[in-house]
């Protein structure tokens, strides 16, 4: 057993750091580190910077323009970019639809869709969930009927993250209403500009506009936009779940937030002393650091197994559960650390470089909103309850 990184891996880490040092615009990392909302341009701008370097798609094979990294390298990259405050790479195009197209799409689809995903010239969103189909995704109802060389799609998707920016949506739709529920589903790529699509914002409890409802009313989709075979969509969706799970633990992000927590707790005061010196609070910070340390090792164990050719299995569920719980605890501690200044709601402080009438530092004004917003971590991507069901079934055999 050797838990150390190899010299090559350490050298790679240094390369990533040097790159971030040189190329990550401080205006961007400032926003990320202070939990301000990012606009579309900002996500795109960062991905294009990575694209120039050949690093936009850490998980892609070289043949499609990926860097061809090992799982360990990917994990180092994720950690370093998170720590530096780089905007996250949104998964919808790069990590969700692209692997499905690579594995099951036609040649034409690969040529049409993959290059602009890599270069951040198209924005994708994920149209899985529906009002009646959340955890029980296979019960989805959005209907696609074949008429000549088109599908006519009608139904409703919901919780669609950042659909307001999207050029394309990948949807699970029902093509065979008679079949068993998993067997009548297909995977369709739909241009968001097609007549019949409308997007309605859903404002979340922190005041943010991150998710949407997407209505599809007799939307005409060319059959060429079907991925793989009709009625095999569920297989592709499941493939996706098993495929891109590196980074699911969010260790890098967790470390970044822990560092922020310590920084904030050093600036905030309790009884005239820095809060971080207060034994009650400090012990909670220490506790979460220990949890995160252990999670990092668990994560590396899974990554090493993948590096040695094993498929990431239901272990990923454990990483998701622990990783999200730890981050939520950190966001709670940050909210607690800023005391009464968690209360003011000054949305200007969340969006722009600041607001003239800010009554407290940015880290305080974003603390409660960030805490509330991140309740999502245990709900989406398969809720933590569903993940526990997976572990109990697949690992424990219960």
């Amino acid at each position: 057993m050797d838990i150390n990184f190899t010299p090559e891996e350490e050298a790679f880490r240094n390369d990533v750091r040097a790159f971030l040092n040189e190329k990550l615009p401080p205006a961007l990392s400032d926003k990320v580190l202070n939990h301000k909302h990012l606009g579309k341009e900002e996500f795109v701008r960062w991905q294009k910077i990575l694209y120039e370097k050949g690093w936009a798609a850490p998980g892609w094979p070289e043949k499609y323009g990926g860097p061809g990294w090992t799982p360990v390298q990917k994990s180092i990259f994720e950690e370093e970019t998170a720590l530096a405050g780089a905007p996250p790479l949104l998964p919808f195009g790069l990590a969700m639809v692209a692997p499905v197209i690579m594995n099951f799409g036609s040649e034409e689809q690969k040529q049409q869709f993959l290059p602009p995903i890599l270069s951040a010239d198209t924005w994708w969103c994920q149209g899985y969930s529906e009002p009646g189909a959340g955890s029980d995704l296979a019960s989805l109802k959005t209907r696609a009927e074949r008429q000549g060389d088109h599908y006519i799609v009608s139904g409703q998707k919901t919780w669609t993250t950042l659909a307001q920016h999207a050029d394309w949506i990948f949807c699970l739709v029902r093509t065979d209403p008679q079949a068993k529920k998993q067997e009548g589903i297909s995977f369709l790529l739909i241009d968001m500009n097609t007549p019949g699509i409308s997007v309605r914002p859903i404002i979340t409890l922190d005041g943010a506009h991150e998710v949407n409802e997407v209505f599809l009313d007799n939307v005409k989709v060319p059959v060429e936009n079907l991925v793989g075979e009709e009625n095999k969509g569920w297989t592709y969706a499941k493939f996706l779940l098993g495929h891109e799970r590196s980074g699911i633990a969010g260790v890098g992000r967790g470390k970044m937030e822990l560092r922020r927590l310590k920084d904030i707790a050093s600036r905030e005061k309790k009884n005239g002393r820095p809060l971080i010196e207060d034994p009650t609070f400090r012990s909670k910070v220490a506790q979460i650091e220990m949890e995160l340390d252990a999670l990092e090792m668990t994560d590396l164990r899974v990554i090493a197994a993948v590096q040695h050719g094993q498929a990431p299995g239901p272990e990923a569920s454990m990483l998701k559960i622990k990783g999200t719980e730890i981050r939520q605890e950190i966001y709670h501690l940050i909210r607690q650390a800023v005391g009464p200044y968690a209360l003011p709601f000054q949305p200007g402080a969340l969006s722009e470089a600041g607001t003239d009438d800010a009554v407290a530092p940015d880290y305080a004004l974003t603390a409660a909103a960030t805490y509330f917003n991140n309740r999502k971590l245990t709900i989406f991507g398969g809720s933590n309850e569903i993940q526990k069901n997976i572990v109990s079934k697949m690992i424990l055999g219960l």
Partner: protein
């Protein structure tokens, strides 16, 4: 031992609950929030007409003669509707402080218009660096001919932007951390040198930064004794903590009810999600936290009515700590068990979840009260 309410208390409870039920629906509340002050004067006047603004004041002061139990009943009902009006700021904290310790002239000038809904107060004690401390005060009141000159910054003053008069803590002696040397003053919100920056809070209320720049007040602005306000501030903070505990109990009740309803309605995998045992157990844990919070708040009511300061401190801290921890659990899990819908601004649950969580950031969080309890905990000498 008897936990039942008197007929009078029951009537009071009915009155407030009916008001909340009839006039504090989700849409109604939303429309009240749009008012500049974050609540409407019409509603405040209704509270006055129903006699609610006089609840904690003795009959000779023109009040209803209620004690902590009555305040608890009012606040719990308010919590069920997420009432926006400045009851804690105006009545529970600053108002009772004047009622207890104001000079005759101050009582005369304040209480009648306060109870009739014409005048609003706020309790301006917090400062940018003092977190939840009762005694860390750096605002200063310098003696000058015929009175005092006040300077300082009062932070996150609940409803400070609608108050006509402020009860302000400032030092007439000692250093920032001393318990001794703190005084309380009653000042006009419009006095020269007072600037007030109001803002909404994330849980739908209002607060303000109050800056005092050489504000001149007369001798008669002093409340109680010069330099001896520490105990009174602590009592006032305890009342505030207790009142928001009762509010939390009301809000937690609704969050639990909404969640329970949802577990019965929402179907996934062909069955109501409430049939999953892991979900059932979570819901049971939420209810237990609610009952623990309710019990601790009831005990705090009893101890606030008594004379034993050490017991009061322990009981209020127990309640606020229970509400801090248990409220967080109920808030978070009620969202979790709703799934995505629990996160939306359009659905009422999120508003309860927010208020319940943010109560921890007022009048001392769970840790602050854990610390206070620890330092007042009795440890037997001989074992």
């Amino acid at each position: 031992m008897d936990f039942s309410l008197t007929d009078e208390q029951r009537m009071l409870q009915d009155t407030v609950e009916r008001l909340v039920q009839d006039q504090y629906g989700f849409e109604q509340r939303h429309s009240y929030m749009q008012a500049e002050e974050g609540f409407t004067r019409e509603m405040w006047h209704q509270l006055a007409e129903l006699g609610l603004l006089g609840v904690p004041f003795s009959e000779e002061l023109g009040g209803f003669g209620g004690g902590p139990v009555e305040t608890m009943l009012v606040m719990e009902a308010f919590g069920k509707g997420l009432v926006l009006e400045p009851y804690v700021a105006s009545i529970v904290t600053a108002g009772q402080l004047i009622g207890d310790s104001g000079s005759d002239a101050q009582k005369e000038a304040i209480l009648e218009p306060l109870i009739s809904g014409e005048l609003l107060l706020a309790f301006a004690h917090g400062e940018p660096d003092n977190r939840y401390s009762d005694t860390q005060v750096s605002s200063r009141a310098e003696r000058s001919s015929g009175g005092y000159v006040l300077s300082g910054h009062k932070a996150v003053v609940l409803h400070g932007d609608s108050a006509d008069k402020l009860v302000v803590s400032a030092r007439t002696g000692g250093d920032t951390m001393d318990a001794d040397g703190i005084s309380l003053f009653l000042i006009d919100a419009t006095a020269q040198g007072v600037s007030i920056q109001g803002y909404p809070t994330i849980d739908g209320l209002h607060a303000a930064e109050v800056r005092l720049d050489r504000v001149q007040v007369g001798e008669d602005a002093l409340i109680g004794q010069d330099g001896k306000a520490a105990d009174l501030i602590e009592l006032t903070q305890d009342r505030g903590a207790f009142a928001v505990c009762a509010e939390a109990v009301g809000a937690m009740t609704v969050a639990c009810d909404l969640t329970l309803d949802y577990l019965k309605q929402r179907k996934q995998f062909g069955v109501a999600i409430g049939t999953f045992q892991s979900v059932q157990h979570r819901m049971v844990e939420m209810r237990m936290e609610l009952e623990q919070a309710r019990s601790a708040t009831m005990k705090a009511a009893a101890k606030l009515a008594g004379n034993d300061v050490a017991e009061r401190r322990r009981a209020v801290s127990t309640a606020k700590n229970q509400v801090g921890r248990g409220g967080r659990f109920v808030s978070e899990q009620s969202i979790q068990l709703h799934g995505g819908i629990g996160m939306t601004e359009e659905y009422n649950l999120a508003h309860y979840a927010k208020r319940i969580a943010m109560i921890d950031n007022q009048f001392g969080d769970a840790d602050a009260h854990l610390d206070r309890f620890s330092s007042h905990m009795t440890v037997p000498k001989e074992l």
